[in-house]
Amino acid sequence: MELLSGGDMLIRSLQDEGVEYVFGYPGGAVLHIYDSLFKQEKLQHILVRHEQAATHAADGYSRATGKTGVVLVTSGPGATNAITGIATAYMDSIPMVVISGQVPTDMIGLDAFQETDMVGVSRPVVKHSFLVNRAEDIPETIKKAFYIAASGRPGPVVVDIPKDVTNPNERFEYAYPKKVKIRSYSPAQRGHSGQINKAVDMLLAAKRPVIYIGGGVVQGDGTDLLIEFARKLGHPVTNTLMGLGGYPATDKQNIGMLGMHGTYEANMTMHHSDCILAVGARFDDRVTNNTEKFCPTAKIIHVDIDPASIAKTVLVDVPIVGPVTTVLKDMLAGLTESKVEQDKEALSGWWQQIDEWRTFHGLRYRTDDSELLKPQLVVEKVCEITKGDAYVTSDVGQHQMFAAQYYKFDKPRRWINSGGLGTMGFGLPAAMGVQLAFPDDVVVCVTGEGSIQMNIQELSTCMQYGLPIKIINLNNEALGMVKQWQDLDYSGRHSHSTTYADSLPDFVKLAESYGHVGIKVTNKDDLDDALEKAFSMKDKLVFMDIYVEKSEHVYPMSIKGGSLADMRLSKTERT
């Protein structure tokens, strides 16, 4: 057997795990590891400019590919800088392995230079974590970390490695385990057949059904089966922010996103439904509004890989714990076996009602009240020019909601955003991870002048690795979503949401200073040409600084404390 140092074993383990990219930043505690990295070519290391960006890049890579993202950071500030990105991945159940350096074993607890208790600091935002005490344990720990991160309900796993454990002068026998067994961990493989049959009967008997899908369908690769199942039943499908693309947006059975900024038709359909099938969704507060008023007439079937997601905020009638794929397969089989007849007449009446709701609102927005560009229009144009087939990352705020509403995602893993944690600064580094995974595809980052500045330094990383991301900066010179809430709930007192307007950078010059192309758009009539120009530059990062109407709000918007049917539809209308 081969003898390797701890550092070499770590790198070899990552290679044997099939890792392509490691996103990281060197420092004292990981110098041995970086030296091991230097001596090989198989594993590509992407040097970011801030550790937070490393985690978001690994996260974006994971969301787009389905593979586990890998991060390598040093101890202390390197580790703490990674926390926001780890929490982002945790909230959205993204598989990630974060390797952090630690001070040498004999210095732990002595407040040594760059010491942080990373296992402790990260504990509430990881699926699991390891502190590696012996070099011999590295291969098995890495195997376990990848297994835990990607199986069951995925999530981030931290592996904290003290510097002495990677000492190049101590060598050990290396063998990467083929399989790993953890006696205390066995995620569900199949749903309960009795529950599944019960659910199928309920769905067939339903008069006003709706299928509500979340990120679990995307993460669990359940899209194809879901399409088959939904089409067989002919039920309307709504998706959460995380579930966009989990069912094709342009399909006639899709009624759009639900929740706080969901479509009128999706929220009305949910509210009036008599049977909801929730798949890989978690009844988040941004979906349910007031849980006491949530869908009062509906029986609820909830399919999820995580039992703790079931009956957490909303009680359900039929819980089914299992992976979406096997549960949907079993449900499809159940459809053919069930003796319950579908009430076609009721269903067609239901669709008639849904179509009326659709016609009534259908994400309309005014185009005649401003000389400036409407952000909604910009997203629609971006969708048009990319034929709805780009990878779109976003940051957090109004632009994120506009992107979610107006970009029509027909495929899963195309919409990449921080849904649960709502992390500003996510978009650009996430786009880097996506572009590395798919160098020949179009990657768009829809952002705002607030969010983009939270990780703007990554423009330098994009230059180093030649990542031709198209940045769509919807510039309204304000923290738009904060301002919108202040307009609605604080009598328009714009506390610190608009004060930076006069001190914003010239984004064109900024992009140019990093060696990229910058295009400024202020005039409605210039948009088409500017987009044409930007998207024709296939090998360049283009930063499009697009000035949009400042007073625009995102609608529909749930009314606080109400049911799903309580919405503001525009600045002047409500349900």
Partner: protein, 163 residues
């Protein structure tokens, strides 16, 4: 409602902090907590008492089960069970009170495990209620110090919590 949850988990550093952290992170309360290795030294048994409605307790058990190091758990209060807590209590014992304190200790089937001319240290086991009653029976002013272990418990009959 008060619940006793027993958790079998890997006897590894950090496992306990995950359990305790989970409770503070999600706003569940812990009234008492006791933990020690089992006859199988790779496993620890942790017993905690908490209060909450059915929905909260269901979430607590689900969230505990999600922790990778948790092997198995049981809500002992769901079935017949034996629960015990041990208390060491130091009492001011002077003059005529000495005899009275000894009598009360005997009534509660406690033992005096340490004696000085002014102090009795009493050991008492039983349910938490019994220990509370003893403190109450002693009355105010005489209790110098209380050390309680927290509740440990086990199901009655054949039912076991093991691998």
């Amino acid at each position: 409602m008060r619940r006793i949850i027993s958790v079998l988990m890997e006897n590894e550093p950090g496992a306990l902090s995950r359990v305790v952290g989970l409770f503070s992170q999600r706003g569940y309360n812990i009234e008492s907590l006791t933990v020690a290795p089992t006859e199988d030294h790779t496993l620890s048994r942790l017993t905690l008492t908490t209060t909450g409605g059915d929905q909260v307790i269901e979430q607590i058990t689900k969230q505990l089960n999600k922790l990778i190091e948790v092997v198995k758990l049981v809500d002992l209060t769901e079935g017949a069970h034996v629960e015990r807590e041990l208390m060491l209590i130091k009492l001011k014992a002077t003059g005529s009170q000495r005899a009275e304190l000894k009598r009360t200790t005997d009534i509660f089937r406690g033992q005096v495990v340490d004696v000085t001319s002014t102090v009795y240290t009493v050991q008492l086991t039983g349910t938490s209620d019994k220990l509370d009653s003893f403190i109450e029976a002693i009355g105010p002013g005489l209790v110098m110090e209380v050390a309680r272990t927290g509740v440990s418990g086990i199901a009655r009959g054949e039912k076991v919590l093991s691998l």
